[in-house]
Subunit: 314 residues, 2 copies
């Protein structure tokens, strides 16, 4: 029920995922609404069931309020399926804050992990990297950052098949001893850990692909991700304006439009498969609120992969 | 003596500024080196003097070490001229940390301001805005953010001629009550102030131009600025790659190269005139380490404008 294009694009995307992979779908939401969507889409032979959840958490609803007032929301009901072992993973395009709050309350934390973190995969000059925390824990202690790194390391090793992921700490200088107090303390902890810690990484190097995992607190991480999204959009508009300033360029721009669009979409990070909520006891994927069917499909695929690789176990 | 292209581009840029405006130049550095540069450039009739400073602070030198060990560096000597009233403004393309440390030690803070902040002007969809702190004070208390906003407000009103600048607080949600502890507390202070505070601004909206002044701590601000620089570069390279993938596009790309370059350069923020060190008792402009002559010229111009508008007085 969550997201700007729910339920139609969400249902459509889930069906695409079920058709592509070996996935049993539980569609959680208002039964009549979900049924109406299903009637419009071919889904014969697909293993789909609907789980009733009468309430809906609004995108701008305060997470703490939702938690108190909406125990029958699709987020709450879906996460309970996970808790009870009736589902292996939960995917939502709803309110990020809502999903984080309900997941904490319902699933609890993994052993040795004090706070959750959102792991966001993003494109780099050399492929892909993950940044975390993307916004689950705004105020962090140094130990949390170490735990985020351990979580991310495990996910990248087991699910993404990256051997000894290179871990960088987002900071305002390359040298040790740079940064705010949090970053300086976290640097020490990361250096003493058994992780493949390569040191500080500055904002200008985040997209170079020299590390597999960028660690930061949820405030800085969220600002960084949303800034990237906004900047990519701004640059595209600037380019488009420049390109339409005279007739020759206008003609050229026509041929380049697909290329321009592709470059920007890579940065609309959560569109590309959803972000992982790491640290809670369960596989939870948060898709972007603006997700279309293709984005939901890849978010469900990402959740399925996490289940198949059993990264949460042992 | 500071910056990647010092002294040649620095001297060249300073001469351009002197020729364009009503500016008396004091070139601070190793006299023989500066003289050698001057000999290669036409400068007849320009009011130029050289002030000897035998030491040079390296770009990667630790600011605290430089402060102790290099009392005769061009940064130290230049700031002393300011302190003694022999100069009205100081411009450097040298180590940012070095300039901040020496400026604090030499000039001291303005009344009522506890910490310095770097004000960085950047392009938006509607013109220009200023972000501060760009990296002078990594660990901030809420009161510092209020003081940054007051400083930035005064600068934008007096020097840039913006009436009642719209002030936004960089945060991870639009609603009040969002953010880390620092942002939540700062929000309250800004709301109670007499500033034209428009509320929180998310990363994705920073480039939209809905505010004139974006307030954040020096850690987040520095990450945001460097990330923008790195992302603009990354997007350009991605586009260029896409554009050269087949012959037709290759041909098209040839015509578009200038447009692409212009779009990226706007984001290489400190290239466009230098950042202001606000809060210290004097006009200090920090130009990007990679500054060429044109960038130095506009940094000197920015410093001169700050002096002419007497924004520091009363």
């Amino acid at each position: 029920m969550g997201g700007d294009h729910a339920p139609s694009e969400v249902v459509k995307g889930a069906l695409l995922a079920a058709r592509a992979g070996d996935i049993d779908l539980l569609l959680v939401g208002q039964t009549t609404v979900v049924e109406a969507e299903l009637r419009q889409l071919p889904h014969q032979g697909l293993p789909i069931s609907i789980v009733e959840a009468p309430q809906v958490v609004a995108m701008d609803e305060h997470p703490a309020n939702a938690l108190r007032q909406k125990p029958q929301s699709s987020i709450a009901v879906g996460l309970h399926l996970l808790k009870e072992g009736k589902a292996d993973a939960f995917v939502s395009a709803g309110s990020t804050g809502g999903v984080v709050a309900f997941a904490l309350a319902t699933l609890g934390m993994m052993n040795g992990i004090e706070r959750p973190a959102i792991g966001v995969l993003y494109p780099t000059a050399k492929g892909q990297a993950m940044l975390m925390d993307g916004g689950a824990t705004a105020d962090c202690r140094p130990a949390y950052l170490l735990q985020f790194a351990q979580l991310g390391n495990r996910y990248l090793e087991r699910v993404m098949g990256i051997h000894r992921p290179r871990v960088g700490l987002l900071n305002i200088g390359e040298e040790e001893g740079k940064g705010n107090r949090l970053a300086m303390e976290a640097h020490k902890l990361l250096k003493e850990s058994s992780l493949n810690f390569v040191g500080n990484i500055e904002g200008k190097d985040v997209f170079k692909g020299e590390v597999d995992l960028v660690i930061t607190d949820g405030f800085t991480g969220n600002v960084a991700l949303k800034l990237s999204e906004g900047l990519a959009e701004f640059l595209l508009v600037t380019l488009r304006d420049t390109l339409t300033r005279n007739t020759l360029r206008k003609a050229l721009a026509y041929f380049l439009r697909p290329a321009l669009r592709r470059a920007a979409e890579g940065l609309d990070y959560r569109r590309a498969g959803g972000a992982l909520l790491l640290g809670v006891q369960g596989n939870v994927v948060i898709a972007h609120g603006r997700s279309d069917a293709a984005a939901i499909r890849s978010a469900v695929g990402r959740a399925a992969k996490a289940v198949q690789e059993r990264w949460l176990e042992g």
